[in-house]
Symmetry: C2
Subunit: 303 residues, 2 copies
């Protein structure tokens, strides 16, 4: 089952060197979630072959322009291309006013349902829950109200050992019960133990998005044991005072967060325009946390 993230933009506020403002697509079992939507997101989606009408949910971390300015254009283009399926938007409440003021002046009437869910930057909370997935939002520490997002896969089922199933001619109709650990007895009374026909269920995976934020605030408890942690690394640590002033994180700090929460991997991003070459940011992160990597636009990363 797919669980991976495509980076559309990893630049901080001033986009440079063909790096775009923040945006990414999370593919969870062919359901597409957009996380942040900086200016140019609709063009990036087109460039990387993502059909925007397949996006079902959009999550906006905060109202700095580099995280949401692509939204009006994307929502309008979805309208022009005939979208009919509903779209859920999770964002700070003020975004609703910003969107509808612009729709009003451009005489835009959406022909699909845009369902607005306002996020709470005061405390963590579950904002979406299905059998397959839970999405939690939590406060980050930035200049304006900002939230992170954590995506937790639901309990996974065991996988069948196909060769044994075929050899023993187990009927197809009982396969789902075997996957759930229930033994099967055939019409002759012969017992087939689920444990002998399946491999144990894989561990459920999780992804967290932390941008923009100072490092090491209360959110750390919410992202514990996450598999893939996307954490902003705006500056090198030599700029830590600037990071504090602007409520951003350094590469070293993000790596320390990854280490402390027991993340499996750290994906870096939200690079300051002062860095054309990003290698020093990576070197710094790896000095503390070896499974750090630089996010690159247009690349998919497995959760």
């Amino acid at each position: 089952m797919r669980f991976e993230v495509l980076i559309l933009g990893n630049s901080s506020a001033t986009p440079m060197y063909e790096r775009h403002p923040s945006s990414q697509v999370l593919n969870f079992n062919e359901q597409l979630f957009l996380i942040d939507c900086g200016e140019g997101t609709q063009m990036q989606l087109f460039r990387y072959g993502i059909k925007s009408n397949k996006i079902s949910h959009i999550f906006i971390s905060h109202l700095h322009g580099d995280h949401y300015l692509g939204l009006v254009g994307l929502l309008s283009s979805m309208n022009l291309s005939g979208r009919k399926n509903e779209l859920h938007l999770y964002a700070p409440l003020a975004l609703k006013e910003i969107l509808y003021m612009q729709f009003k002046h451009s005489d835009t009437v959406l022909r699909y349902d845009l369902i607005f869910h306002s996020t709470n930057a005061e405390e963590p909370g579950i904002i979406l829950q299905t059998k397959m997935l839970t999405v939690t939002t939590f406060p980050l520490k930035h200049r304006i109200p900002t939230t992170g997002f954590r995506f937790d896969e639901g309990k996974r089922s065991a996988s069948l050992i196909r060769e044994r199933i075929e050899k023993l001619k187990i009927p197809t109709v009982v396969l789902s019960q075997l996957k759930r650990g229930i033994d099967y007895t055939d019409t002759n009374g012969k017992l087939y133990k689920a444990s002998e026909l399946t491999l144990p269920a894989p561990r459920s995976r999780s992804y967290a998005y932390c941008s923009d934020t100072r490092a090491f605030e209360s959110y750390v408890s919410v992202i514990r044991d996450v598999d893939l942690l996307y954490h902003e690394t705006t500056f090198l640590h030599e700029m830590v005072e600037r990071a504090k002033e602007t409520f951003h994180s350094t590469s070293l700090e993000a790596a320390e967060v990854a280490l402390q929460v027991g993340a499996s991997k750290l994906l870096m991003g939200h690079y300051s325009a002062r860095y054309r070459d990003l290698t020093p940011l990576l070197t710094e992160a790896k000095s503390k946390f070896s499974d750090a990597q630089l996010s690159e636009e247009g690349k998919w990363y497995l959760v």
Copy 2:
């Protein structure tokens, strides 16, 4: 003296095939004017090496997203990069409210003067006048209030015939009077006729921007005899009914406008996403007006 336009975006509402929403930079004697500012304009400026802090005036035709959604990002990036020089913005009044609502929620305080001039979509008017240049705005015919812009170069001075000037050892201090047509008499009483030392002043040049609009409305009288006419050509003429419904122009209609107003050249743009290959649009325009050309992003066009 430079007078040329760089195309940053020439797509209609839905950007496709690496074409961007409307935006262009007019360089008039090293003074930079931005005309429309679709999403992604700041990235396009960077791509083509235009320093955004050198832009002194921005003109927005109307409040459809593909003509202004790049503005908040651009104005914010100018702020982050330390712009101090004032910026004049000419646009429909509602844009002011849209901008300041977004500045408020992102806690943005501009550290340069943004001087807002509201445009009037009811009647033509001069909105900027210097010794060198006059800018006129005029109503277009679109779904929402929209204006075009015409840029007229002021009276040009005659150019000196350098070889004669040097041969006759005319003093430098009198050159500007000669260029203005005033004869010069030296201390020995010898007369030097300006007409014999200069070439006649070149004709003043003009540029007009008409997007978005139905063709053949009252604006035609305002753009008479323009040198370079940028006119939207959203559709092929086989789609003329769609053009009427959406208040756009066909390629054939734009060519007819160019012919009727006596434009020297027609520059086409605002292409519908339905056309990957633009050749048929060009062929259609040329069938009526031979000096038509397709605008291409990243290219400069002489006025």
